[in-house]
Amino acid sequence: MNINATLFGQMVTFALLVWFTMKYVWPPLLQALEERKKKIADGLAAAEKGKHEMELAEKRATSALKDAKDQAAEIVNLAQKRANALVDESKEAAKTEGERILANARSEIDRELESAKEDLRKQVSVLAIDAAEKILQREVDQKKHKEILAGLGKQLG
């Protein structure tokens, strides 16, 4: 328990220990710690930035999606309208065509009727003349009959 020269030995040892620590142990360790601190800070900042960018991209994507949807809806709308118009158009065309055909048929019928009437008229007059001739051949009063026939002809004509 007595103080002796060991004290000097311990002091020298202590001094060497501190010197070595100060020169070779402390600086590299502290430098590594500082560098890691910086790295972590940088990493955190980068992560923050990345997150922000992702948010922006998400916003952009959402708006792009919305635009695309709107556009698609518009296109569908337009197509529907066009289809409706086409259907209407063809309906109209079919109607006109039908009417035209109907009108044609009507006029054809009218013409046929007219010519049939004419034929009949001609035939009746021929038959009447025939009948008249026959009558005349039996009753001779040519003069009277001629008058009657003339009157008849006038009526028919």
Binding site: N4, T6, Q10, T13, L17, T21, W26
Partner: protein, 259 residues
């Protein structure tokens, strides 16, 4: 072991044997070979592992050794930053050296009290005291070195004139009270290394003594006492290393400030 000691001189003989250092030389020039050997060896252990970690230090992912070393370094660095506000590249490495070295020297206390002395006996060493911090030379070696640093930085930062003025006119600013101030300041300055060295020595010496006393008891009761004491001692050895470090930082911090 204990019985063996009883054979060669009783309980007192056993205790005295355990507290007698392995010495070489005569009078003042005696060297406590065991204290020197263990403190140098533990210092080398400290430097070896910390230098290894420092060499491989990377700012990337640290390995287990670097992780462990960094933990201690950061702990010490925080303490220094908390208490010391000047700029001095010596303080932090000094604090680290003190903390780890004192801790390792104190840790020797946790080895079984008879383990190394018996090994020493087997290789022909009559005495072996394995805990360097139970030697006043070791604790005062550090505290006196710290005292020199206090004086050195006081002179360097404050300047000799200011330092002398502070010594003579503080705390009482009066010419008549110069002798009183001188006495007060001398005591104050001397108390620092003495209290530093004695505190560590006293704690470790007492702890070791209790381990030795427990070793004198019957073998079947020893674990019931030595185990709790060892667990408690883990706290003490860490605390003493911490106190020595923090007080060193505080003293040097005071040396850097002027009143």
């Amino acid at each position: 072991m204990a019985t063996e000691a009883h054979d060669t001189g009783g309980a007192t003989g056993y205790i005295v044997h355990h507290l007698t250092p392995l010495s070489a030389g005569e009078g003042f020039w005696t060297l406590h070979v065991d204290t020197l050997f263990f403190s140098v060896f533990l210092g080398a252990v400290f430097l070896f592992f910390f230098r290894k970690a420092a060499e491989q230090a990377t700012s990337g992912i640290p390995g287990p050794l670097q992780n462990f070393v960094e933990m201690i370094v950061e702990f010490v660095d925080t303490q220094v930053k908390d208490s010391f506000h000047g700029r001095n590249a010596l303080i932090a490495p000094l604090a680290l050296s003190i903390f780890v070295w004192v801790f390792l020297m104190n840790t020797m206390d946790l080895l079984p009290v008879d383990l190394l002395p018996d090994v020493g006996k087997a290789i022909g060493l009559e005495y072996l005291r394995v805990v360097p911090s139970t030697d006043l030379n070791a604790t005062f070696g550090m505290s006196i070195s710290v005292f020199f640093l206090i004086i050195f930085y006081s002179l360097k930062v404050k300047g000799p004139v200011h330092f002398a003025k502070e010594f003579l006119f503080h705390p009482f600013d009066s010419v008549a009270l110069i002798p009183f101030n001188l006495l007060l300041n001398t005591v104050e300055y001397l108390a620092k290394p003495v209290s530093l060295g004695l505190r560590l020595f006293g704690n470790m010496y007492a702890g070791e003594l209790i381990f030795i006393l427990i070793a004198l008891l019957p073998w079947w009761i020893q674990p019931a006492l030595s185990f709790p004491w060892a667990v408690f001692h883990i706290l003490i050895i860490t605390l003493q290393a911490f106190i020595f470090m923090v007080l060193t930082i505080v003293y040097l911090s005071l040396a850097h400030e002027s009143h």
